[in-house]
């Protein structure tokens, strides 16, 4: 069980992303909390970024995540066996939350491998993010 948490991003009391002492990222969205390793979280970020460019119904994936933009005008995000239905506004809030959390995670000192997804994950939080014109301030 996780007992020590660091807040990486927070939208409100019910929507936030924390990192525990195992390095696992805890994504809380209203009634649900989902647990992801760092590499899975990066896949989630990549998927969400691709999702922001969807202009018509489509289904894209970055395992273990699948994102569908439905004809009814909402997004459905699957992370393994859990799914979240998101209005377009909530989708953008989630994208922003995940972006901020990833930046914060990259600033974290190296942590242990996550416990939830044991396996051949890459070393966590040891990469550096280069400052660029895309970023409003230096992440170095």
């Amino acid at each position: 069980m996780c007992i020590q948490f660091t807040t990486l991003a927070e939208s409100n009391d019910f929507r936030h992303i924390l990192q525990c002492e195992h390095g696992t990222l805890h994504l809380s969205w209203d009634l649900v909390t989902l647990y992801l390793s760092a590499s899975e979280f990066e896949h989630l970020l990549n998927l969400l970024e691709r999702g922001t460019r969807l202009v018509e119904p489509a289904k894209i994936s970055e395992p273990p995540c699948i994102l569908s933009y439905k004809a009814q005008g909402y997004f459905q995000l699957w992370i393994r066996n859990f799914a979240l239905n998101l209005t377009p506004i909530d989708f953008l809030i989630l994208v922003d939350l995940v972006r901020v959390a990833w930046r914060a995670a990259c600033e974290q000192p190296a942590l242990e491998q996550p416990s939830v997804s044991a396996g051949d994950q890459p070393p966590m939080f040891q990469r550096t993010v280069a400052a660029s014109a895309q970023v409003s301030f230096s992440l170095n």
Partner: protein, 137 residues
């Protein structure tokens, strides 16, 4: 998210029902967990109990639902979130809830019936380095 979880019933380390210090019911299922108000949990429990009846495609409760897919798998809807379940997992979940319900009701009663506060951030959280200040270099 809470500091104290009392496990009421569990199948394995990652499939459990628990009650936290806020009076919320936590349903953990592998890589995620629902955090439910007592009344919401009771509605889900009622819905799952109905799943034992034959010949249904979709069951609906207040704020929750259960859908049988064509491939024989299930989707449990709670609010805007969905949990995908294999048939065997649905049976496991039903049994888990059945096993936990009497104890949970007892705990919730001792906790003031329906008193509940939304679990917030972990109170044991630490600040990350540089929180609140960052370089504009």
């Amino acid at each position: 998210m809470c500091q104290y979880l009392e496990i009421v019933a569990q199948i394995g380390e990652h499939q459990y029902l628990a009650c936290c210090e806020h009076g919320a019911v936590h349903l953990g299922w592998y890589y995620g967990a629902f955090h439910l108000r007592p009344d919401d949990f009771r509605r889900v429990a009622t819905l799952l109990e109905q799943s034992a009846t034959p010949h249904w495609i979709e069951l609906r409760g207040e704020g929750c639902g259960l859908i049988r897919q064509r491939n024989g798998c299930f989707q449990l809807w709670i609010g805007q979130a969905v949990l995908f379940l294999l048939e065997a997992e649905l049976y496991q979940l039903v049994e888990l809830v059945r096993a936990a319900l009497p104890t949970l009701e007892q705990m919730l009663m001792e906790n003031g019936g329906n008193s509940w506060s939304q679990p917030r951030l972990h109170s044991s959280q630490t600040k990350r380095p540089g929180d609140g200040t960052f370089s504009l270099n």
